[in-house]
Symmetry: C2
């Protein structure tokens, strides 16, 4: 057992030390690699060294290097090593935390972690929630809870409201929960990509007039496209006035509430009925840790709870949480340890400082991009994400302009020090920078800006 861990740690240590110098994206030959790795169920085993070789020499290098300090694509994961230690302990001890009675102390540590997250976004005492594997399942449970609270078992006439910049997990959550496509309204946005609250109010009124039942507003605290933060206070007012459930998808943005700038940008989030957070984004944890917070955990229980003769008795004391009653899972990992251990060991201030640094770095990027002739800051950072493109003199909207910007993106990424991705905004292709990795510091941002300038020169900017 110890020998296995020692051998794995040799490889892990070397890998993490090499990260800064490794290419940020290297998937050339991926299809061929995948084909050579294919094999049937092995009857007999093989040595651990062989397994480590497959992983560290072949499969891990051929990836988007999501763990690199230069990974500024999508919304970066992190990979705080403390979480790996937490999982090592959780897996090896393998206790069951879905039912309070089975592990009262461990469940309390998970509950501490959930309450800390609620405290971070400013939800009141008495709020709760549960940890998921990521934002998508958190948002799914929010939709199910809103459906259960506002519509009941028949919801053919229910309507959900969000922005046309919504993460696709909102549409998907609605579909999984049994809503039809035409029961989700994607409302337009303002020039900063924030949902048009007046238009949403009008849509709600129009639906009511047609006999529909509006049930849920989904706001965003940091969209994936451009990092836009909706006017959450206005959405909270609207939802309260209309008696709707307010869910805020703060998967990317929520942890910035640890900073003064973030709290200002996300003002109103504390009025939400439920909030999606991704500790694997703003808390720098490895992929696989999301969270759904709820002002009234009893609503989660009404939507998800399910009795069974073969289970131990559930708790009525609200301090003692049976997570299998609040969430769609029964057996599952002790993922609370992954959240609790880093916060307990490092303290919240360390995270606040790191997130403040990310906000600063995004501002550095924005300031530098504003200096570049012809570069349009399509979405200045509201948090740590920004979108931009180059518009050569005389260029007009269309496929040629998009192709030009795609070439620019490729020229930047080809240099191997940073990895950016693009998206479509108002019908045009834009480049994005998202600074969230705990490994990204000023020196790498300077490298990014140098490569952005060099790439632009290369494509004739």
């Amino acid at each position: 057992m110890r020998a296995l861990v020692a051998a794995a740690m040799e490889r892990i240590g070397a890998h993490i030390e090499a990260l800064p110098a490794m290419p940020v994206c290297d998937v050339a030959g991926g299809a061929a690699l995948a084909r050579t790795l294919r094999e049937g169920l092995p009857a007999e085993g093989c040595p651990f060294e062989h397994v480590l070789g497959v992983l560290f020499d072949r499969a891990v290098p051929c990836t988007f290097n999501t763990a690199s300090p230069g990974y500024l694509a999508y919304v970066p994961g992190g990979g705080l090593f403390l979480a790996a230690v937490a999982d090592l302990i959780a897996d090896a001890t393998n206790r069951y935390v879905g039912v309070w009675q089975a592990a009262p102390g461990l469940v309390q540590l998970e509950t501490n972690a959930v309450r800390w997250l609620a405290e971070i976004v400013g939800l009141p005492a008495g709020s709760g929630g549960f940890l998921t594997t990521g934002g998508s399942l958190a948002t799914f449970s929010a939709v199910v809870t809103a459906r259960s609270e506002k519509l009941g078992e028949r919801f053919d006439d229910g309507v959900i409201y969000t922005s046309d910049q919504a993460h696709h997990s909102v549409q998907r959550a609605a579909r999984l929960a049994g809503f039809r496509r035409d029961q989700v309204r994607e409302i337009g946005v303002d020039e900063r990509f924030r949902v048009d609250v007046a238009a949403m109010a009008a849509a709600i009124a129009a639906d009511r007039a047609r006999g529909r039942r509006p049930c849920l507003v989904v706001g965003h605290a940091g969209t994936t496209n451009t990092g836009a933060v909706d006017d959450l206070a206005a959405l909270a007012d609207l939802a309260a006035r209309e008696g709707l459930w307010l869910h805020v998808d703060a998967a990317y943005g929520g942890f910035f509430c640890l900073t003064a700038r973030g709290r200002a940008a996300l003002a109103g989030i504390e009025c939400a009925d439920s909030v999606t957070l991704d500790p694997h984004k703003g808390m720098f944890l490895p992929y696989g840790t999301g969270c759904l917070l709820a002002r009234d955990p009893a609503a989660l229980r009404r939507a998800h709870g399910s009795p069974a003769d073969y289970l131990p008795p559930m708790q009525d004391d609200p301090d003692f949480v049976d997570y299998c009653e609040l969430s769609p899972e029964l057996s599952r990992d002790f993922r609370g340890l992954r959240v609790w251990l880093p916060l307990k060991l490092l303290g919240a201030r360390v995270f606040a400082r790191a997130l403040d640094e990310k906000l600063d770095l995004a501002e550095v990027c924005a300031a530098a991009l504003r200096e570049l002739p012809g570069v349009e800051l399509v979405a200045p950072p509201q948090l740590s994400l920004l979108a931009f493109r180059h518009v050569p003199a005389g260029a007009t909207e269309g496929p040629e302009l998009d192709a030009h910007n795609r070439r620019w993106l490729a020229a930047i990424n080809r240099r191997g020090r940073v990895f950016l991705t693009g998206t479509m905004v108002r019908g045009g292709f834009v480049l994005r920078i998202c600074v969230v990795s705990f490994r990204t510091h000023r020196s790498r941002i300077d490298a990014a800006l140098a490569d952005i300038r060099a790439g632009l020169a290369e494509v004739g900017g």
Copy 2:
């Protein structure tokens, strides 16, 4: 980093060595412990030794000892240490496997693992699926897929059929997916607790006559109550005849297909449209690894897929799987490594032998219980789970008989060497033994039988 792991491994090693002698269930003082562990968000950190102390000296000991060889309760988890090593590597390298393009080699390893599981239950080439955190979410996605394939966006008139011994996750999955309670029929069972297929056929006919749309049959390969395996071949015939989706919940039983006896008991599972498996049961992994297999992975994609501008392009080659398209998750952990690594390193035969041993041990229990006067084997093992009770001479059904058996259960568990649980069967309380832990061998089963006899003597059997 290495120091953290070394310190954690000290504790883990000592814990695992002590497991056989530790009490199998010790949650006395759990409420008090939980209250003392409660605390607000810490601004500053604390030493790692303190964290290890909280975990190993306080929280972990006060639990149902799910990792103990004497844990024969519910359906035991396992906690194969290799999976902990896999998670350590997956967390530390933190690559993203939700999209094929982001990690072609790692995704292939996960796909190998999924295909191995499909091979184990006998699904044909071309079948696929995805890993979940457990059986509940796997079954949920099966229900959503059946709904999408058989009913479409409007499913008010759809009906689901399962047995009255169904795991509660079936009802819950239907509810989450938007079905009303009255859209799920729980059909009665035969004397071996297997669903009455003729009664199910009659219910389907009756529903069709009333204009309802039958869509899904959920069979069980090892119920949680008594370990019953439905006649899966008959269910497959029925589903094929009626054009319904057949899902088999083999969360507990599926891995026994690695053994000759298991394959015989589960004959017909290879005809299912989808199958729930829990590698954290029959593959002895730590809690948190389930699987949904599907004969036609394209159906999973039709039900779950969701495009987005900000994502990389998805694959059309069926060999290259984008897991975010088949499943409800987007960002999530690389849980494939937890399944792939132990199978690759140990080979399937090791698991087959271990599962054969569990079948033998359940037979040993059954034979010994048959010898005890007044003991009724309510459910002889169809796999490795059995249910029984003591009926004193002249006793009749009712609360007194139940109380007598509850006292017997308590007298067994009080001895601390094994932990059994009970359930309600045909209105009466029964004791259960479920042998699934890789740590449970003959010596512990002999101890269990000794404690069962001693407990019975104590309560006057």
